[in-house]
Amino acid sequence: MSISMNPDTMSPQPTQSHMPTARPVVTAAESAAQPTLAPSVKMKATNVDFYYGSFQALHGINLDFAANKVTALIGPSGCGKSTFLRNLNRINETLRDTRLEGDITLDGENILDKDVTEIRRRIGMVFQRPNPFPKSIFENIVYGPKINGMLRHGNAAEVVEQSLRRAALWDEVKDKLHESAYALSGGQQQRLCIARALAVNPEVLLLDEPCSALDPIATAKIEDLLFVLKQSCTIVIVTHSMQQAARVADSTGFFLLGKLIEHDKTDIIFKNPAKKETEDYITGRFG
């Protein structure tokens, strides 16, 4: 079966079945033509297949990411959710012997046709474990703006403060900006990595299990942050924790064995999933 991820085409089954039969069924094309009803699509994956060597890790993924929303990708280990996320900024290209098929667009333009450094500037990424550079807090933040030629004379301090404020870290580190980033706690390091990603003004922020190495308090801080950040970014978060997806995500996609089983509004996925596999996973029958 084909899985379309546009929230409009995925509107819950009952709505359609209760429509008067005389009225023509609204097609995806028609509903997409009504921008007031549809949140605009920031990124779109079409028929994405991905291979590690001869192993096919992703099978025909179709998924739309609505602008200024948080989309969570859930599923058991090895289901391909991280692999899929890592294709959205083409970081998987740095691995040897991999192959991507299909289209991934950002604002309607295929990211595979564009300059990869520009794509990665526009689509930021935060990793599973905090990975600050062995430099000071200040240098970590200005790294991205510097290599992308975004620093104007004398605005480095401003960029650093702004980015750290956006990551809700400024108050904790403002007196030790020139100390090593490794002096921070794990949760602070992860927010530093978020600040570092925000410093280049990304339009999309990809988070690959950003809280898996953090304690619950640090996790809560990052989740709170996502609610604010989605006003300026489109956010995609891979998470192992269904509770986290339920807390932060506007829509949720469920992956299993390299396939996208289902994608819908988060409360529908958790309360009334269309697929049995999803329900089994959500209710803890496997995974």
Partner: protein
């Protein structure tokens, strides 16, 4: 049962003692050498030894100033040729080479590392000394740089490989090009290790003698330019030690002490570099 336990305990004790003795031998060798050098050469070490030229047989007060300077020149030349080439080769090996090419380069570097130094000497002699019609500091520096390149390349590769993949991805994910990420994040992260490897490599080649016999030859006086024969510490030790004079033997010991001292200083400073500054948590 008890006899079996007794045998087990006996084997245990024997093996423990054996490994301890060997560990002690390893450590004590260095101190034995050092003590022997001090005992035999310590008397000859005085300020003049470092500032004077060698004197003829029978005279007193000779020094090895020209050999110290000559060695410094040779090693500096070898470093100028060898370190950048080895470093960049190591970067290529770690960051750019594919599986097959990487294996070939790595294996070749290890083979080059294993080529006996006397063969390196003959090679440099044929390549530079013969065409240039004379022994020279340049030829000696070239010979030693051939030995320094594979050491530096492998050390650089090894320490770059220890930089975690997540850090490379962190730089690339911010829009850095590959070269930019290497130059601004990966190499700085591995900087201390690479510098240590370089210092140890330089220390290692500074004691090489065989390549110098074919290239630097030796000189009783200050050398008169990079294209002329030059004195060097290892060759002075070799010449003095094989001469039939008591006084020269003492000077050979003293020169050995100086050489070992310099190598130890290099080693210890390498250690100090490693223990300072920011490090990457594993």
């Amino acid at each position: 049962m008890t006899s079996r336990n007794a045998r087990r305990n006996a084997v245990n004790n024997v093996m423990l003692s054996l490994t301890a003795v060997c560990a002690f031998l390893t450590v004590s060798t260095l101190f034995l050498i050092l003590a022997y050098l001090v005992y035999n050469g310590g008397k000859s070490i005085n300020p003049q030894f470092f500032t004077n030229l060698p004197v003829g047989q029978g005279e007193t007060g000779g020094g090895i100033a020209n050999a110290i300077v000559g060695s410094a020149e040779i090693v500096a030349l070898a470093s100028v040729f060898g370190l950048p080439v080895g470093f960049l080769a190591g970067v290529y090996l770690s960051e750019f080479s594919g599986k097959v090419l990487g294996f070939l380069i790595r294996y070749t570097a290890d083979l080059l590392n294993g080529v006996p130094s006397i063969v390196i000497g003959i090679f440099a002699w044929a390549l530079l000394v013969v065409p240039m019609h004379g022994y020279s500091t340049i030829a000696a520096g070239f010979a030693l740089s051939l030995m320094l390149v594979p050491i530096t390349a492998r050390a650089t590769e090894q320490f770059l490989q220890e930089v975690p993949r997540t850090m490379r991805e962190g730089a690339l994910a911010l829009g850095a090009s590959k070269w930019r990420s290497i130059a601004t994040v990966i190499v700085p992260a591995a900087r201390k290790g690479i510098m240590t490897g370089m210092i140890l490599g330089v220390a290692r080649i500074s004691g090489e003698t065989a390549p110098l016999l074919f290239t630097a030859l030796g000189n009783q006086f200050w050398n008169s330019g990079l294209t002329q024969p030059t004195a060097s510490l290892p060759v002075v030790i070799f010449n003095y030690a094989t001469a039939p004079y008591e006084d020269w033997h003492r000077q050979a010991w003293a020169a050995g002490l100086v050489l070992l001292g310099l190598v130890l200083i290099a080693n210890i400073s390498a250690r100090l570099i490693v223990s300072r500054g920011m490090s990457i948590p594993k």
